[in-house]
């Protein structure tokens, strides 16, 4: 009996070796341009209503010049996930002189064309003390560049668990600071939503 039990333990360990050593679950990435990926064990999927053009553009900006745009982000994965916002910046150094405010909300009652903020209704929650729905209020330079430092949606202390079919709209507002040091500079920004199921 004891011999059989020992054999059972050994067999179990033998089984565990390939499982533990070989089960490196690689990251599966899906983008809006590759929405057909399917993972039987579960999936994480984000998409937006972009039309291939950039969200915002400003030329000849002077102090108090403002531009804004909205984008709808949808979650289509079967696994619940948390989402962080981030994005890299390039350019000649305008980003410290641009104020960025990101507000989370919904389109109510209907969804307008991409970029339009018509029907945008901010979330009622004052997430960071900067007004209803605001999840970031700082400079473009301070907007996080990568996932590690990314902006937890909507708040680090209470990250939302995105589930299949969940949709949020994000309004981006960029304003040129009243600072002569901002003259004759430029910046280019990517805005990225990244969902992870752990």
């Amino acid at each position: 009996m004891k011999r059989r039990r020992n054999l059972f333990v050994i067999a179990l360990l033998v089984l565990l070796v390939p499982v533990a050593g070989g089960a490196t679950y690689a990251a599966f990435r899906a983008t809006t341009t590759n929405s057909g990926d399917r993972i039987e064990a579960g999936s994480v999927s984000l998409s937006d209503n972009g039309d291939g053009t950039s969200l915002m553009s400003m030329t000849g900006g002077v102090p108090a010049s403002t531009t804004s745009a909205c984008i709808r982000v949808s979650y289509g994965g079967s696994l619940s996930s948390t989402v962080r916002l981030h994005g890299t910046t390039t350019g000649s150094g305008l980003d410290p002189y641009l104020d960025l405010r990101v507000t989370r909300g919904t389109y109510t009652p209907s969804t307008p064309a991409f970029k339009s903020c018509t029907n945008f209704v901010a979330d009622a929650t004052n997430y960071i003390g900067a007004g209803a729905g605001v999840i970031y209020n700082g400079t473009l330079q301070g907007f996080p560049d990568d996932y590690a430092g990314g902006l937890v949606d909507p708040l680090p202390g209470s990250p939302e668990s995105w589930t299949n079919g969940e949709v949020h709209v994000y309004r981006f507002e960029v304003t040129v600071q009243n600072n002569f040091a901002a003259q004759n500079l430029n910046a280019t920004q990517a805005f990225r939503w990244e969902a992870r199921n752990q």
């Binding site: 679950y25 599966f28 994480v44 937006d48 981006f172 430029n186």
Partner: protein, 334 residues
């Protein structure tokens, strides 16, 4: 005994498995992104002043080009020796410049032209004598901060000059006549010469939303005479036109809120003749410049500092109880 060893071996194997065999279970990740949002600021903001100052050693070469880095609209040149300062606007054509220290009409062979990259000087000793060092300041106009213009005098007792584009806080008038160049800042009781004088009540008499009003002083409005003006606005963090009352205290800082690259002070004294003084950033040490035929002078504008300019105790800048008006300009445009 053998069972104990076997169990130990099994336990040890399990521990080794946990510690040695990496168990990497990464998250499922998905991203969506919008790239290419672009932001470009204006090359020069409204209210920003493109200005520069510099110095050169005179060499008596006619037609000498002095590089500024841009095409200026107003240039002042002053020798470090006892020679009169001169000024020229972009509205003045030909080889003409206004002497700023005497009652002299426009004169050739001083600042001969304003060019795309600076200005040229002749070989008159007021601008280019061998052995002299010359200090210059050059300004570029801006629709909300600084303007130059011209008009022909009509001798009327009241004449409005409009089209400046903003309400000026300080106006300089340079007439092509044997009269002195003058200036007036908002709040001053009179219009004053650049150099010593007690002011005129019929020069620039008022400031309006889009210009200024003149009396019939020959310095600003003689019939048929060509006049050219320079107007400065007060723009936060760029141009400060202000006033202070003298207290006779040496090394006194007059706050501007920014580091001036140029400062000009004129006493509002109608009883005692006092001279205007100025200082560009290119001038080192504690000296400053006057506009008349005076060498570098001390105890006036002693320094241009991070948030102010410093004055000494000379009566041109800080006589106890006198009111003084100043123009401080920051180089605020690239």
């Amino acid at each position: 005994m053998s069972r104990i060893r076997f169990r130990h071996a099994v336990g040890l194997a399990a521990v080794v498995l946990v510690l040695v065999v990496p168990v990497a279970i990464a998250a499922f990740v998905a991203t969506t992104a919008n790239t290419g949002s672009s932001f470009q600021s204006a090359s020069i903001f409204p209210g920003a002043i493109k200005m520069a100052s510099g110095t050169y050693a005179g060499n008596n070469v006619d037609g000498r080009a002095i590089p500024v880095g841009f095409q200026p609209d107003f240039v002042i040149v002053k020798s470090d020796a006892a020679r009169e300062g001169v000024g020229r606007t972009s509205t003045i054509t030909g080889d003409d410049t206004k002497p700023l220290g005497t009652a002299t009409a426009f004169t050739a062979n001083y600042i001969q032209s304003l060019t795309a990259t600076g200005f040229t000087v002749g070989n008159n000793n007021r601008v280019n004598a061998t052995g002299d060092d010359y200090y210059w300041v050059a300004f570029k106009t801006n629709s909300q901060a600084m303007a130059v213009g011209n008009y022909t005098g009509n001798g009327a007792g009241t004449r409005n000059i409009t089209g400046v584009g903003f309400q000026p806080e300080l106006v300089m008038v340079l007439g092509d006549t044997a009269q002195r160049a003058v200036l007036r800042a908002t709040g001053m009781s009179r219009t004053f010469r650049f150099e010593a004088g007690t002011g005129s009540t019929t020069g620039v008499t008022a400031f309006g939303a889009d210009g200024f009003t003149l009396g019939n002083s020959a310095e600003v409005n003689s019939n048929g005479v060509a006049y050219h003006y320079v107007a400065f606005n007060d723009v936060p963090n760029s141009i400060d036109v202000g006033t202070y009352t003298g207290n006779g205290t040496d090394n006194r800082g007059i706050a501007t809120g920014f580091q001036p690259a140029y400062a000009l002070i004129r006493a509002d004294d109608t009883g005692t003749q006092r001279s205007g003084v100025h200082r560009p950033a290119s001038l080192t040490g504690a000296s400053s410049l006057e506009f008349g035929a005076t060498a570098l002078s001390t105890n006036r504008i002693q320094a241009l500092q991070a948030t102010d300019f410093q004055v000494g105790t000379n009566g041109d800048v800080n006589s106890n109880g006198d009111d003084y008006y100043y123009l401080a300009v920051r180089s605020s445009a690239p």
